[in-house]
């Protein structure tokens, strides 16, 4: 890795770290983050493949309410470097990514606690109607989240590919690495389970089983085909659902009650 690549890796991980807390532009998702690290390190192909593999595992990792997802950003940046610079297999990359996601989660909890300090600073600025001050509190906390990923990634980038690291990685017994690869095949179900639980729609579970059964027994059907079937099922379900028929008259009543804004606000 040359100096230019090192700087670019730091920049990419800074962006990923910030994206991880914001959950906005999705730069922290493995499929994007690994691709970018791959691009910067001159091995786009490996980055994309590792990103695709990690994305499947992270499919259901999401921030819902106060609960925090395992950190995909740190997992993606460091495992990409280990795989590309340290010449490790994709399977090993996946195995390394998971403990990193846990470490990243601990780090973000730490930064989100520090951010409470910025919150109180913002209170002071608000009392003085200091717009700039509040904006800087916001940006400061955001930047810390970027550093949270950039610093550990930089540290790994500095030592990755050295013989000590490679020796250490190669010293892992095969029963462990193969076992990790085996778990890589079914670890994705944790993400699926997270999505299903979040939906909180027990009554809609038949659709889950329909999807499962079709995918299992209809050979040759791909995700696009299944997506179309699912979308059709969704439309038909809503069209036929009596819940939505009984309340067709409701909007009329609502508009007449809601014409006077001030009453509503009262």
């Amino acid at each position: 890795m040359n100096a230019m690549q090192f700087i670019l890796v730091i920049l990419v991980s800074l962006v990923c770290g910030m994206a991880s807390v914001m959950d906005e532009r999705q730069f922290h998702r493995p499929i994007v983050a690994c691709t970018l690290v791959g691009l910067v390190l001159g091995d786009l192909q490996t980055g994309i493949i590792l990103g695709g593999n990690l994305e499947l595992i992270a499919l259901g990792w999401m921030n819902v309410g106060a609960a925090m997802a395992p950190d995909a950003a740190l997992a993606s940046t460091i495992s990409s470097i280990i795989v590309i610079v340290g010449h490790q297999s994709i399977g090993e990359g996946i195995a390394i990514a998971v403990p990193l996601a846990a470490a990243g989660q601990v780090l973000t909890i730490f930064v989100r606690t520090i951010a409470v300090f910025f919150q109180h600073q913002a209170d002071h600025f608000a009392a003085q109607a200091n717009f700039r001050g509040i904006e800087w509190c916001h940006i400061g906390a955001l930047f810390l989240q970027g550093l949270r990923v950039a610093i550990p990634t930089g540290a790994v980038a500095a030592i990755a590919g050295t013989s000590i690291v490679n020796q250490w990685l190669n010293a892992i017994p095969p029963v462990i690495t193969h076992g990790l690869q085996v778990s890589g095949g079914f670890i994705v179900v944790v993400g699926y389970a997270m999505v299903i639980n979040m939906m909180k729609a027990r009554s809609l579970m038949p659709f889950f089983f329909i999807g499962f059964t079709l995918a299992t027994f209809v050979t040759g059907i791909n995700l696009v085909g299944l997506g179309i079937l699912g979308a059709c099922a969704a439309v038909v379900y809503v069209q036929l659902n009596p819940d939505f028929h009984d309340s067709i008259k409701a909007p009329a009543a609502v508009t007449s009650a809601g014409t006077e804004d001030d009453d509503v606000l009262g």
Partner: protein, 281 residues
């Protein structure tokens, strides 16, 4: 003292203000903290509106203070709440009888229902489906995978934010009825059906579990016939093990077991299973 009269003339947000609000809203969660969560982000997003509607320093300070209160919801559709809040601030600045509590109540009142709609639509359906599609292309090394995911999800996000804000700003508190109403409920249900359908198919399609453990082996007409655990499972229901594992994970997650621990548990199962010969590559 024209300022002190009951009804003041307040200019509405300009297109530039709206764009600035939009841009700020895309950094909403930057300073997420455990005390008031998205509060600073909410306040920073409201700054263009506060500047437009209030010109006295004490009014501005009061507005900033009330938007530094606790706030937490699904980020993208939150733009609709920004719109409603801006509309209320505009009326308040114009002298309408809206107290601070009313604005906070509307914000807090919309937070929960909006997350109830936003989480299944964006986190439960749009993102996993696009990610799954993108990943399926990426597994073979195609750049189309990351591009499809990145542009697909960002177009959805930008449209949600921009039109969500405009809708909220135009409709003001009338939107409260929209949120509780039928259209959004239908949309949420449709998203949930599609999401669950795809999750079901992923459980079958994108898990790899091989169980080569030979249970029975006998000779018949010179050939060795052996039945592995895999053969038995497949004749019952292919993908059954993945299905059972999914249910086990759902059960554990409902008991508030951290996802990371479940994943580590899976690693242990994989390593021990491989060591014992139950699972194979």
């Amino acid at each position: 003292m024209t300022e002190s009269t009951e009804i003041r003339k307040v200019e509405p947000l300009t297109r530039k203000d709206m764009f600035s609000t939009y841009l700020r809203s895309t950094f909403m969660l930057g300073s997420f903290n455990f005390e008031r969560m998205q509060a600073i982000g909410f306040c920073v997003t409201m700054i263009p509106a506060i500047k437009r509607f209030y010109h006295k320093k004490e009014d501005q300070a009061a507005a900033l203070k009330r938007h530094l209160e606790f706030f937490n919801t699904t980020p993208w559709p939150a733009s609709a709440i920004f719109g409603v809040t801006a509309a209320m601030e505009q009326k308040k600045a114009a002298g309408a009888d809206i107290d601070e509590a009313a604005i906070t109540n509307v914000k807090v009142g919309l937070m929960g229902p909006l997350a109830g709609i936003g989480d299944p639509i964006y986190w439960g359906t749009a993102r996993p489906i696009l990610a799954a599609l993108g990943a399926s292309l990426a597994l073979s090394g195609s750049i189309l995978g990351p591009l499809l995911f990145f542009f697909g999800i960002n177009i959805i996000r930008m449209l949600t934010r921009w039109y969500g804000f405009k809708l909220g700003y135009r409709q003001g508190t009338d939107i409260v009825q929209d949120v509780a109403g039928n259209r959004l409920k239908k949309l949420t249900q449709m998203a949930s059906v599609l999401g669950l359908f795809v999750m079901g198919s992923l459980v079958s399609k994108w898990t790899t579990i091989k169980m080569p453990l030979v249970l029975v082996s006998y000779k018949q007409a010179g050939h060795v016939i052996s039945t592995s655990l895999q053969n038995i499972m497949d004749s019952l229901l292919p993908g059954m093990v993945a299905l059972l594992m999914t249910f086990a994970c759902m059960w554990l997650l409902k008991r508030n077991v951290n996802a990371i621990w479940i994943i580590f548990g899976m690693f242990v199962v994989g390593i021990l299973g491989y060591w014992a010969g139950i699972f194979g590559l």
